[in-house]
């Protein structure tokens, strides 16, 4: 029967034979759970009893929950600190590294190495750094030069930046590599023309390099923003004795979701939080694409 088919029909048969398992996978493991998450967000359910309809109750509860607003604020602080800081640092390093030849590969390796580490492992390493005297490395250094101690993870104001630091550190290598690829793509002739015209280095940077790097910048901004909005591993591991603490000052949305679902077993409420996360990610990405593309 197969042999009677035309070449085009054979192609259709093969294509769907190849796609059968993957399509099943995407339907069962991606689309159905997405729909289910949205459905659960409108229900009350503690994992043991039955699922009962709750209407918009979970969402109303969420928007009236002061902890949620604290968490929402924290999540955006991670984004608003993390994205610009890592963008600027990685650009400066990539820009200068691009102009060096001596041991170029070695320097690049040093900067890239943290990207290959595990977030959980490094969260514990940094957590040790932040401990008070006589344990933590940073405070021991400060003590040895006579500077007063800094409360890194125990202060409500310092804890969030302290947790953010290893996340920025681990992501820099990737961004530097992407920036360098972007810089290499700019034709040398642009720079030569500018040099012949006697344009200053600074003007070249602002008028040629940065505008031509726009696609790279858009990619890095969107990519790293999504990462910071979904921060979890670092926060969870650096504050295991009081997840998200002290006083919820480091708690991001994903940690609240985890806590509500798997410690509080309030599945409906947690699902509503995941829907909010989804909407936030979508809006932030679209907004960034819009602003950055149009300019």
């Amino acid at each position: 029967m197969y042999n009677n088919l035309s070449i085009r029909q054979k192609q259709i048969v093969w294509a769907w034979a190849f796609l059968a398992i993957p399509v099943l996978f995407y339907v069962v493991i991606r689309f159905y759970p997405t729909a289910n998450a949205i459905l659960i967000s409108f229900q009350n359910w503690n994992l043991l009893g039955s699922r009962t309809w709750a209407g918009a109750e979970n969402y109303i509860k969420l928007f009236n929950d002061p902890v949620f607003w604290q968490v929402f604020r924290n999540t955006f602080v991670y984004l608003l600190l993390g994205t610009p800081i890592s963008l600027v640092i990685s650009f400066i390093i990539a820009y200068h590294l691009d102009q060096l030849r001596f041991m170029h590969g070695f320097l690049r390796m040093l900067y890239f190495l943290p990207f290959m580490t595990s977030a959980v492992a490094m969260a514990w390493v940094w957590r040790w750094f932040y401990q008070p005297v006589p344990i933590g490395l940073f405070n021991n250094f400060l003590a040895s030069v006579g500077i007063p101690q800094v409360e890194f993870l125990r202060s409500t104001t310092n804890a969030l930046p302290s947790v953010l630091a290893p996340a920025v550190w681990a992501g820099l290598g990737f961004q530097i590599i992407i920036f360098m690829a972007g810089l290499r793509a700019i034709p040398r002739s642009y720079y030569e023309a500018a040099r012949i015209d006697g344009v200053s280095t600074w003007t070249v940077l602002w008028e040629i390099t940065l505008p031509l790097l726009k696609p790279t910048i858009v990619f890095i901004v969107v990519f790293s923003s999504i990462g910071f909005l979904r921060i979890f591993d670092h926060v969870f591991n650096m504050t295991t004795n009081d997840p998200g603490g002290p006083l919820n000052s480091t708690e991001p949305l994903v940690l609240m979701i985890y806590d509500t679902a798997f410690n509080g077993f309030d599945m409906g409420y947690a699902a509503a939080q995941t829907v909010v996360l989804f909407v936030v990610l979508l809006l932030v990405s679209l907004l960034q694409l819009r602003i950055l593309r149009d300019r």
Binding site: A15, Y26, I40, M116, T117, V120, R184, I226, A261, T274
Partner: protein, 292 residues
Amino acid sequence: MAAVDTIRPTANAVLTTQAPKKPANMGQIIRWLLLFAGGILMVMPIAYMLSTSLKWPHEVYNVNLIPVEPTIENYTYVLEDGRFFGWFINSLIIAIATTISNILFDSLVGYTLCKFRFPGRYIVFIAILSTLMIPTEMLVIPWYLMSQQFGWLDSYWGIMFPGMMTAFGTFLMKQFFETVPDDFIEAARIDGLNELQIWWTVAMPLVKPALAALAIFVFLGNWTAFIWPLIVTNSVEMYTLPVGLSSFGDEADVAWELIMTGAAISTLPTLVVFLIFQRFIIRGVVMAGLKG
């Protein structure tokens, strides 16, 4: 600004130094020294992790980087305990299995979407692409229910199933199959190969660099994955390295040098692989970053 959009970075370019050879002047020397200092600073956390894992307890809180009397005592202790060894094996099995699955399925789907013309092609493509926008965290609750219903909790399959295929990998492979000329495929058809053979013996060898890039990303992603393994595992024996390390560090009275040893055990494999295949991995990361 049309010219701007046509400028596309390429993965190989990052490996070649394009900077013209300038005579070493003062500015270049200062630039090099600053970048070198920054690079050393970048690897300091890793260096301190390794150094502390080689220190005796009484030396741990000294700030010296080089241990006075290096010891592998911490490693012997942690490995004799047995749990870390088990977690290491679990992580290895899971990372390898998901990598193989992604290599096969992502490329098969990418290839089909790229080289076949059939009704539904566009819809399948858009549907798969749209899953990129759905964050994992939104799916963990339904996945947990599913695992509970089907008895997948606390098993390898339970840890692995969400990552067996990725839209990112599919899209990456589709992009790379565009570079495989249709003539090659036609020629193979005339030679009497069936479509499965053409994919495996003709197309796949031509996209090896992309497959390697995909493998690196999937392996690293699953080796370091935390939130889902944390949710789906209950028993200590089923933990992966990150989940195990997290629970180990959280135990009362665990000494910092032992935590650093555990951290080193979970980080060293990927670091060593990176140091061996450095050029290759950087090219792969750029490739995946730019095309994916």
